[in-house]
């Protein structure tokens, strides 16, 4: 077994994968359940020859990231729930300034302080929040430590492809969990590779200006409308990612991401063994929302089971739209409890028996 096959906590794997992806700048502020990232960076980044700064607050963390990204670095800043709320303004600025940067939200339970238990309560924050104005980010939702590692690399690629911030969202369960993982090789990122980044000019060159992209569009917002719509459309068309498990003939299709989706996968296995036709659409991106995944749903499908660790059922609207409101939607919604695969099957049975209540 190769040396880069190790067991690691999700959070630490994220940090290591970022460094191996060429990230040489980290700024952030402690908050459970993701403080391991900062703690790991506090010694590891120096080894890698980069900068890791424990900032005085989340705002500084976010805006140092902004500056580092503007300077051409692969940069990272991470937080959780309440701290991520404080990132909202900066995310809007990253979007508006076409800056590639990777941010991580390790979600925990509750509005307000809540508690530190796992939860998937930040779906709307990541998918629809992102501060003021017409914002949309790319949001990846890994479901295992390995996928965290893979998604970090992907996140930088997407961020640089679209000049856009990418958020990796996972829950405390995945962040705190250790699993086996294969780490990528160490790689370096060339901070001079972008022509748009600030780096000082040569005599006679024009200065680069990192600010609202709208300033550089024809007729400002007239041009920017088209620019942004085209960008969002390209992202939506090209970057939907999902994993379908036995969807085509399923009578009930679970929709889930992150830790919940793992449980659903087990449920599908067990249900099928019982002869129940359960399927799963696992969202690997929530923005763009993988509507294409829903095309595989067959005519036998009697209902969708949204499995989500949230009180509101934050995903329900998107699922309804993805199914064109054509399939009844039911929910197995927990707040802080990791869903149980038996319960997933029970709900599915209720749906088939006409005993479940729609959530929308």
């Amino acid at each position: 077994m190769a040396d880069n096959e190790v067991i690691m906590k999700g959070n630490e794997a994220l940090a290591e994968a970022a460094i191996r992806s060429g990230c040489r700048f980290f700024s952030g502020y402690p908050i459970t359940p993701q403080t391991e990232i900062l703690e790991y960076m506090s010694w590891r980044m120096e080894e890698a020859g980069g900068e890791a700064i424990q900032t005085e607050d989340e705002l500084c963390g976010a805006y140092m990231l902004f500056g580092a990204a503007a300077a051409g670095a692969r940069a990272l800043s991470t937080s959780a729930g309440p701290g991520f709320s404080l990132y909202q303004e900066a995310i809007s600025y990253l979007v508006g300034s076409d800056l590639p940067a990777v941010l991580v939200d390790v979600s925990r339970i509750g509005n307000a302080l809540g508690d530190i238990s796992q939860s998937q309560g930040d779906y709307e924050l990541i998918r629809k929040g992102n501060g003021h104005g017409d914002t949309m980010v790319i949001a990846l939702t890994p479901a295992s430590v390995q996928e965290i590692v893979d998604d970090v690399q992907l996140a930088y690629e997407l961020a640089e492809k679209y000049l856009h911030p990418v958020i990796i969202l996972y829950d405390a369960a995945i962040g705190q969990m250790m699993e086996g993982v294969t780490l990528p090789e160490m790689s370096e990122h060339d901070i001079n590779k972008f022509d748009w980044s600030v780096k000082g000019i040569e005599k006679g060159q024009h200065g680069r200006k990192i600010t609202n992209v709208s300033y550089f569009c024809d007729n400002m917002y007239v041009g920017y409308e088209k620019y942004l719509r085209d960008k969002y459309k390209a992202i939506t068309d090209n970057e939907q990612r999902w994993e379908n498990v036995e969807v085509a003939d399923a009578e009930v299709v679970c929709v889930a991401y992150g830790i919940s989706s793992r449980v659903c996968k087990e449920a599908v296995r067990n249900a099928r063994a019982e002869g129940i036709k359960l399927g799963l659409i696992r969202l690997k991106t929530i923005t763009p929302f993988p509507v294409k995944a829903f095309e595989e749903i067959g005519p036998d499908c009697k209902g969708i089971e949204v499995v989500e660790m949230s009180i509101k059922g934050q995903m329900v609207d998107d699922v309804a739209l993805a199914t064109k409101c054509n399939i009844p939607i039911y929910g197995y919604l927990t707040s802080y409890l990791v869903p149980d695969s038996e319960k997933v099957i029970e709900v599915a049975k209720d749906i088939l028996a006409g005993k479940a209540e729609e959530v929308l």
Partner: protein, 181 residues
């Protein structure tokens, strides 16, 4: 096959690392694993525990355990808290150097009392109690062979730059393993 284990005890007893060592051993021998701590404000309670799931094939879903195959209890509160969750026929490994000998247990589980302090002494490794305990568990459950685990634990500490402890660790492991008839 899926094996569900909880290791529990006081904060300072090296519970989390013990769990990691078991997980790493399983992983390095081709199994899938999840390891999950109790974290956060429980810190102040002074107790610690972690849940390990080991699978031969299927992906592991939730990192939480449903029914324990093994409970490793380093103190009495750990038994009080988790004994109920052991599946009938499952194992309870008790740290007999702390837990009073007259403690009562469920009778549908296999209780194995391990005097970790004594084993550590025997191994001439005063900090080796937990590793000795792992030795006992391996022998009893057959989770991994001694050789498999020895290789993994050596790699683990060597990678961490702590190869100087390798001999003492192996000694503790073997003492534990061999203490089981």
């Amino acid at each position: 096959m899926l094996t569900e284990i909880i290791c529990a005890g006081f904060g300072g007893q090296g519970i989390l690392t013990t769990g990691i060592l078991i997980s790493y051993g399983a992983f390095k021998n081709g199994k899938k694993i999840t390891w999950y701590p109790s974290y956060g404000s429980e810190m102040r309670g002074g107790t610690a525990n972690c849940t390990i799931k080991i699978s031969d094939g299927e992906e592991i879903a939730s990192p939480y355990a449903k029914e324990l195959d093994v409970l490793l209890a380093m103190n009495a509160p750990a038994i009080d808290k988790f004994e109920d969750r052991i599946k009938p026929g499952g194992y309870l490994f008790v740290n007999a150097s702390i837990v009073p000998d007259d403690k009562k247990y469920r009778d549908d589980i296999k209780v194995v009392k391990v005097d970790t302090v004594k084993l550590a002494e025997e191994a001439n490794n005063p900090k080796g109690g937990n590793i000795a305990m792992i030795g006992v568990i391996l022998k009893k459950t057959g989770l991994l062979t001694l050789e498999q685990f020895e290789a993994s634990i050596i790699k683990y500490f060597t990678d961490k730059g702590k190869e100087k402890f390798n001999d003492a660790n192996i000694a503790a492991l073997r003492v534990g393993y061999n203490s089981v008839q």
